[in-house]
Symmetry: C2
Subunit: 194 residues, 2 copies
DNA sequence: GCTACTTTTTGATAAATGTCACATAATGAA
DNA sequence: TTCATTATGTGACATTTATCAAAAAGTAGC
């Protein structure tokens, strides 16, 4: 029980950095969400399903990926403690997902259903401030990624990753990182040798 | 005067698709923003400045770009009528911009200063719903772009552009489109020949 | 420890894309 | 229109990156 309380403190810490988080809203969040655990390599979401929950990572790590037309996994996102996970397109549009979400480690999440989230947005209008700011933050990260893919060579993208997200290298297999950087496993291996 | 009213109707039409837009909020938006015109190839924002205004495009078109380390322009966004323009990073973080915003045609905008926008967000809390939803929409577009850059070949990215944003080819110079697709002008020219 | 399995590395080669130089076409100003 | 300027296209070649095949290294279960 103590553990669960700490989980929510972790979540509220992140949220309260974005905007006002009254006690009543905290209670409503707690009541409308639940804590879920997944073992390593389990799926939170598969292609074709609707991304109808948002997950806050208490501990562990996940990757978001999709299968390209050759059926090869393409990782688009790695997320860790204190970060939020959705399949962006599916969650925001309520359409079926083309992405998978899978744990990279044993993980614990706070899961909030989309309809509950919408209910919270509606009944605690100030919660939209937090939602808006968080969306902005993840948007910025995504844009930085697109810019890197547009303008940097494979080696430069790897160096940038080393510089900005070194922890990622410790916790994510190289094969996964390669597709995230938009290159083949072999090329990543050669880049690293230098 | 009639023209200005139509401008705001255009803006409100887009906003009201995202959420409730009470008359008082409409009035506040009108009072706190202004209509501005720019000739073709004029700058709305330069590197080093803060992106402190959001622009709604009444008519015309803009591109967002930055200079890479060789000083070459890299286009990241093309925006047209009924779309919103900011330098995402600078606007959301209030840090100096690394991007430029420039008109591609003679253009008319509704300009809203960031401090005014923040004031609106604060005093009309439901406006955060609209802000959040719009941020989500642009985020989705950005993610699609990142995915294309990660997994598609130059030709596939061009074909996708043809398919999803054919109007862009009519109004944006090929040299600008090339960097947007993450390829050289020459490669784009060769792709098109086929 | 030892096997079976997965991940990473390496080599050889092919394909994609970039770069440079210049030609051609389009555009805009006088 | 004409000239100057800018944008686009083309050819030759260099470079980057992908692909395929296989070896080496690492990992998990027994």
């Amino acid at each position: 029980m103590m553990k669960e309380i700490n989980c929510y403190e972790q979540l509220f810490h992140v949220f309260s950095k974005m905007g006002r988080l009254p006690v009543l809203l905290k209670e409503a969040i707690t009541e409308n969400s639940k804590i879920v655990s997944f073992k390593k390599n389990e799926r939170l979401l598969s292609e074709g399903e609707k991304s109808d929950s948002i997950y806050f990572i208490i501990s562990g790590a996940v990757r978001v990926f999709y299968l390209n037309k050759e059926g090869i996994e393409t990782n688009t996102w790695f997320l860790f403690e204190n970060e939020l996970v959705i399949s962006v397109f599916s969650f925001f549009t309520s359409q079926p997902s083309f992405e998978y979400i899978e744990t990279l480690e044993d993980s614990v999440f706070i899961a909030l259903k989309k309809d509950k989230l919408d209910w919270l947005y509606e009944h605690f209008v100030e919660f939209n401030i937090i939602g808006r700011r968080l969306t902005e933050l993840y948007y910025i990260r995504n844009e930085a990624q697109a810019n890197a893919l547009r303008m940097l060579s494979a080696k430069e993208r790897y160096d940038l990753l080393l510089q900005t997200q070194p922890h990622l290298l410790q916790r994510v297999a190289l094969g996964h990182i390669a597709s995230y950087l938009g290159i083949s496993r072999e090329t990543l291996s050669r880049i690293r040798k230098k």
